[in-house]
């Protein structure tokens, strides 16, 4: 953890550190990628790869799509945990593409909100072969595992389920996650259940709830989400109705488009 803090420093310090008598972990200095990160402080450089979600207005607000190698926070409205799960599964499927996905969930979450079902995820468009599930006892274990997993460049995305507002998940913890995500450009999704939004270093913050399907009868329709982008570091925020197309693995605007962009200035 100490090393992580040290990477957040000014360029002058960085130059001193790259000399031989350095107290920073030598493993970290090894690759060029890390050096790049060190040189681009104070606001360390973030990868600019973006994947479009498929919904025109949202992609416009996100400047082209959801950004890779950063932390995104998704809050479930109480009672809509499964919808938030579906929404994150969609985001992760978009970002990870064909790469594996690690889903970290606390044991409590499986009891309270239901265990993740690979068949259900398969029907949403994720390949169960590429999903790894890590059960953890508490939030601090989950965050530690997430930080470790984000250092594995072969992963496409890491989803961390956290229920409630654990003390351990503060601004510093979210900064660490962001930094870890930026090193190998693995995207992190924090899936929050029953939580109040607090200070965080997340790139975007979403508030998700389910929405009534428009179709009637036998044709049930794809999952529809009422999604509020409450925070966007580099763009506008808004409220939309989105539909997840399970076959195309892409988001689209809901058929009954009652969406209206509520513009607000970026913070």
């Amino acid at each position: 953890m100490k090393n992580l803090d040290k990477t957040v420093c000014t360029p002058e310090q960085t130059l001193c550190m790259s000399g031989p008598p350095s107290d920073i972990c030598p493993r970290r200095l090894k690759n060029l990628e890390t050096l790049k990160v060190l040189f681009n402080k104070p606001e360390f450089k973030q990868s600019s790869t973006r994947t479009p979600l498929g919904h025109g207005d949202i992609d416009f607000c996100l400047k082209g799509g959801i950004q890779h190698g950063v932390l995104h926070e998704v809050f479930a409205v109480t009672g809509h945990e499964a919808s938030a799960t579906g929404f994150v599964a969609g985001l992760a499927a978009r970002v990870a593409a064909d790469k594996p996905l690690l889903w970290i969930r606390p044991d409590f979450s499986a009891q309270e909100f239901g265990e993740l079902s690979p068949i259900g995820l398969l029907e949403l468009g994720l390949d169960p072969i590429r999903i790894f599930l890590l059960g953890v006892a508490n939030a601090s274990d989950g965050l530690r595992a997430a930080k470790d997993a984000l250092s594995c460049g072969a992963l496409g995305a890491v989803v961390i389920e956290i229920s409630g507002n654990p003390k351990i998940l503060d601004l510093l913890a979210s900064r660490r996650l962001t930094l870890a995500a930026s090193q190998k450009s693995v995207t992190a999704f924090l899936l929050r259940f029953g939580a109040q939004p607090g200070a965080s270093a997340a790139e975007t913050r979403w508030l998700v709830r389910g929405s009534a399907s428009q179709a009637q009868g036998e044709d049930w329709g794809h999952p529809v989400f009422k999604v509020e982008l409450v925070r966007n570091r580099h763009g506008k925020t808004g409220l939309w109705f989105m539909e997840w197309n399970c076959d195309g693995r892409i988001f689209q605007s809901s058929t009954a488009d009652h969406s209206a962009v509520v513009s607000a200035s970026a913070n």
Partner: protein
């Protein structure tokens, strides 16, 4: 003085030196002993505790050789083939083991011989002798027949026949002995005389490769322990490389100066011999131990064993990106396994059944291999999901008396849409009592939440099984 219940009578099972001098002996009824010495101090035998102590002594003996076997309730067998020279020869090794145990307060008898049976016989009657392989016959012949440990009935039969020593038994014709006592007894006799040797059955599977480091001065600091592990790993890695093997399971054994032994194992999903990887996994494991490694007064021996090896097929640097990604993932899984345990990091495999909750199995990702079955969707093209992404392990009872609303977790939910039923019959060949079929419905409430409910039996009971996205 120990007493135990044998053949429905309380008999002495162990006596100390003072009691022996007063004329008491093992096997004597307690009543007789009490009559001889009215103020006798008697303690009941505690076999499990004895066994535990013997196991601990066996653990301690592991430092001399990995081949340690428990033999009966009171004996330990050590196979010292090829290790005696490390301790200055066989006699010196025997003396050292006996002395160290005596210093710890144990009264013991020990002997060293070419076969297990001969060694046991000598230990009982010629304490402290070490004889070279091939001299067993000469040493064992004068011993009484009890030394063969053949059991009370056989020993009694031999005594009745006038055969009082091993030599006398051995001088009979083999055909006679087989006819009277059976081939098994003859095999024991042959082993006692050194004619045949049977390998002992060690308590733990002996490691394929091992490397150890002895310390004249016990080590207690974390850095030193880590450095030792590091050097042991690199030495072992070289051996593995020469053999073209990789380790799947490694065990570090820490022998504390006061006799306690601690074993820490790590496991890999793919065979590896990269010292950096092994080192990292041990670090993860040591950091997250529920009861940390307690050096006490220090460790005087650290041993690294390779418990399971597999040949490494691909050699050298791989430039294929896909293989690299695969090895990165398996290293991550190994790390997470070392930290959280293999039951925590799971991957999914399909299961050939239509029961929703059994349609998949979650198995430790480290042991996962590609499945022959393929995943099957229930949904059709352009259709909504028919299976929820969150499924309750135990379906929860709901109150669904009217069609307009139902109550789940004390909250009333208004039904706006309902689609079904999808009937799923239970597998009658799996359960002894027949389970009623389930009728599944997809139900949407006013807030847009979609539930997966089923009703079962007559009168019907409603359960909530999962929630859709």
């Amino acid at each position: 003085m120990l007493v135990a219940k044998v053949d429905n009578a309380l008999r002495l099972s162990a006596v100390d030196r003072k009691a022996t001098s007063l004329g008491l002996a093992i096997g004597q009824p307690l009543a007789n002993a009490r009559a001889m010495l009215p103020d006798l101090k008697v303690v009941a035998t505690n076999d499990p505790a004895d066994m535990k102590l013997l196991t601990q002594i066996a653990d301690w003996c592991d430092r001399f050789t990995p081949y340690v076997a428990l033999d009966g309730p009171r004996h330990l067998l050590l196979d010292v083939t090829g290790v005696a020279h490390l301790f200055g020869g066989e006699q010196a090794m025997l003396d050292r083991i006996r002395k160290s145990l005596q210093v710890q307060g144990f009264a013991l008898r020990g002997a060293l011989a070419g076969t297990a049976v001969a060694a046991r016989a000598l230990a009982c009657y010629r304490d402290g002798t070490a004889i070279a392989s091939g001299e067993e016959e000469q040493a064992v012949r004068p011993l009484p027949v009890e030394a063969l440990n053949l059991g009370a009935v056989t020993t009694h039969a031999l005594r009745r026949a006038g055969l009082k020593t091993v030599g006398q038994v051995a001088s009979r014709k083999r055909s006679e002995l087989v006819a009277r006592l059976g081939a098994a007894t003859l095999a024991i006799l042959d082993e006692a005389l050194g004619a045949t040797a049977k390998p002992i059955t060690p308590r733990r599977p002996p490691p394929d490769y091992w490397q150890e480091e002895n310390f004249a001065e016990p080590v207690a600091t974390e850095e030193l322990i880590r450095a030792t592990l590091n050097s042991l790993t690199s030495t072992l890695a070289k051996t593995l490389e020469q053999q073209g093997q990789g380790a799947r399971r490694l065990e570090a054994v820490f022998f504390r100066a006061d006799g306690a032994v601690r074993r820490i194992a790590i496991e890999m999903g793919a065979p590896t011999r990269e010292p950096a990887i092994i080192d990292r996994l041990f670090r993860e494991k040591l950091e997250t131990l529920a009861d940390p490694l307690d050096p006490g007064f220090g460790f005087d021996l650290i041993r690294l064993c390779v418990i399971r090896v597999e040949p490494i097929t691909s050699e050298g640097v791989d430039f294929d990106a896909a293989t690299n990604a695969q090895s990165e993932i398996s290293f991550l899984i190994d790390r997470l396994t070392a930290r959280f345990g293999s039951h925590r990091i799971l991957s999914f495999q399909p299961n050939d059944t239509h029961i929703p909750e059994e349609a998949w199995v979650a198995i430790p990702a480290q042991h996962a291999r590609p499945s022959k079955l393929s995943w099957r969707k229930m949904q059709k093209e352009k259709d909504a999901p028919r299976r929820p992404p969150r499924l309750f392990k135990k379906p929860e009872l709901v109150d669904f008396t009217t069609l307009q609303h139902f109550t789940w977790r004390k909250a009333r939910r208004i039904v706006t849409q309902c689609e079904g039923p999808e009937r799923i019959a239970m597998e009658w060949w799996q359960h002894e009592t027949r389970q009623p079929p389930r009728d599944y419905f997809r139900v949407e409430d006013g807030e847009g939440r979609r539930y997966w409910l089923y009703c079962r039996g007559i009168p019907s009971q409603w359960f909530l099984h999962g929630v859709f996205a």
